[in-house]
Symmetry: C2
Subunit: 135 residues, 2 copies
């Protein structure tokens, strides 16, 4: 279904820029088996436009606090949503999903804590203001 005919094969610098990451990171992702590249005769990496999305996806998972190793375990089932790894991968994903949810809840708590702080800080400031404006 996917036609890879005239897709502009870009080099690492372009992918880096378009995906918003450093060249170093892309090489690192490849080292961690999160990303692959075709190589030119001289050894330069070439990518297709699809990799942009993949990199962004990886970034999202990183932002979610997943480690390279964990991401590497999950990505195979993005690539080929097949194989017997199905069940194990589903478990793994479910587990990570839970972890993520927990983490999100923590962050929301932290934000709430900040909100509380801000509320009392504001109240205090307004009180000061009222006082300085004369009783």
């Amino acid at each position: 279904m996917t036609v890879d005919s005239g897709e502009k094969r870009m080099r690492i610098g372009e992918l880096a820029e378009r995906a918003g990451v450093s060249v170093r990171s892309l090489r690192y992702y490849e080292e961690q088996k999160l990303l692959t590249s075709t190589r030119s005769a001289s050894g330069q990496r070439h990518y297709t436009d699809d990799e942009i999305e993949r990199v962004r996806f990886i970034q999202r998972l990183y932002a979610g606090g997943l480690s390279s190793r964990t991401i590497a375990e999950l990505l195979p089932c993005v690539d080929s949503p097949s194989e017997e790894n199905s069940d194990a991968a589903l478990d793994r994903m479910s587990q990570e999903r839970d972890r993520l949810s927990t983490h999100i809840a923590e962050l929301v708590q932290a934000r709430d804590a900040l909100d509380q702080l801000m509320t009392s800080a504001r109240a205090y400031r307004d009180q000061l203001q009222a006082a300085s404006a004369g009783v």
Copy 2:
């Protein structure tokens, strides 16, 4: 309003256990000016029960991705919600709040991405199962 009369002054080991962090972390927090302690004649740290909540609060902010430095900037206004730092602190908090919200949104996106993955993985698996069960 707060009476600090007979409050059990605990040592670092107890605080660590009750707040759910390592002794090392507590010393680190002190080093980072996030936490203070009174010292006994022999130099041992003593804390009151209040510090338990403070440590938990610090943990929440850490979980929210704030750095020690940032937390250190915010804590003064927890301690004394006063001073002229009010406005600056409010700005700072508001800024961190935004950062947190952004981060939370990213995490939710990551989770959504995982959900999508799981959905398609499940679909694929069920398809396989249907096939193996005979057409």
